[in-house]
């Protein structure tokens, strides 16, 4: 949702609705994430379930083009289709906003989209997320939320030269995708004294800087944390349990 906010420089748009347009700087150029409200002309109002799932889990647009993987279908691919359709149902319940799509400022966009098919062969893992029976129910819930819908690894896992996530360094942190500074690693949070315990991390995720966790705001994390604060307590605790276990 945070990536699909309206452009703050354009007046007249409700910032709480994902009508799209706020620029997203990426290493290959500037993208303008599209309108996710159910407007039939400029939004997803007349998308079928299949079109929505194709976009979310395979990175294929309604018109059949490859989508640029700044859109984290690489994470959503791990979700059960039912959960993806629940997201669609939620989006369809929002107020439709007319906000036309703006083309990306990417010098080689045409070429790039063709090449993305090949990229997906390397960078898109379509294996659904599976629980680990040796772990607790909460740990598994956290693992699913972090790796699937939460798509935490899109920023917190470093990428190789062709922007494929380096799974051997899962959640090890890396350069910030928007080009300024670094994204912190999420491994060994206790050992590195980033948090005191599971509860401390859960409080940080829930309340962020409003409770004085001063590293919860920068590089876009504040918006992520504000979104996370809306999760049920049990989900926040589950995420904390999973993250703390990463070594």
């Amino acid at each position: 949702m945070s990536c699909h906010k309206p452009d703050p420089k354009q007046a007249g748009f409700d910032p709480s609705l994902p009508s799209g347009g706020a620029p997203l700087k990426t290493p290959i150029g500037i993208l303008y994430p599209p309108n996710l409200t159910p407007d039939t002309q400029t939004g997803i109002g007349n998308w079928s379930d299949l079109e929505f799932v194709n976009a979310m889990q395979r990175g294929i647009s309604k018109s059949g083009q490859h989508l640029i993987p700044a859109f984290p279908y690489t994470s959503y691919a791990a979700m059960p289709v039912g959960d993806v359709l629940d997201i669609k149902a939620y989006l369809m319940s929002l107020k439709p906003v007319t906000s036309p799509k703006r083309d990306a400022d990417i010098p080689i966009a045409f070429l790039l989209r063709r090449g993305l098919g090949l990229w997906k062969f390397l960078g898109l893992n379509t294996t659904p997320w599976k629980p680990d029976s040796s772990q607790t129910v909460a740990w598994n819930r956290g693992s699913y939320l972090v790796n699937g819908p939460g798509h935490c690894g899109e920023c917190h896992t470093p990428r190789n030269l062709i922007m494929v996530r380096d799974e051997s360094r899962l959640f090890a942190g890396g350069p910030h995708p928007e080009g300024q500074g670094k994204v912190p690693g999420m491994r060994s949070l206790l050992e590195r004294s980033r948090y005191k315990d599971k509860k401390d991390l859960a409080t940080a995720l829930q309340f962020g800087e409003e409770f004085g966790y001063e590293n919860m705001a920068s590089g876009g994390m504040r918006q992520v944390q504000i979104n996370m604060s809306k999760l049920p307590q049990s989900d926040i605790d589950a995420i904390a349990e999973y993250l703390i276990s990463l070594k």
């Binding site: 300024q180 994204v183 309340f207 800087e209 409003e210 409770f211 004085g212 705001a217 920068s218």
Partner: protein, 155 residues
Amino acid sequence: MLSKKLFKSISAGALVLSLGITLAYAAADDVIKARQNWMKERAKALGPMVAIMKGEAPYDAAAVKASLDAVNATWEAVKDIELFAPDSAKGETVETFAKAEIWSDPEGFKAAGEAMEKAFSNLAATTDEAGFKAAFPAVGAACGGCHEKFRRPKG
């Protein structure tokens, strides 16, 4: 051929110039260090209130007052320093996490500062636990609002 006198004055001039540049850099480093230290001191000063928010310490009006006084003292300590001087956007030997937006969006930066002051004055006006717990998050939100816009991630 250069006369000895002219050579001397050129050398002296170059020396003064290079010293000047060194001093300017040192000054930027000093400003960066001062503001980083100021931020650290503020975080420390806020500590007792954060502990109450997290439920690690019981609410205590006197402790809140002391904490607010400590925050004010951090202001007092730096009131003669221009903490965000334009030439402190980049340090010579010290790394700064300040974003260029501080200087390219002075109005936004000023507004963020004013939001902070307002949040603090509202907090200072509270007299009981419920009021305190309702007012503190605005202070944190002001910290976070400014950090998100004007500080780049540290990694």
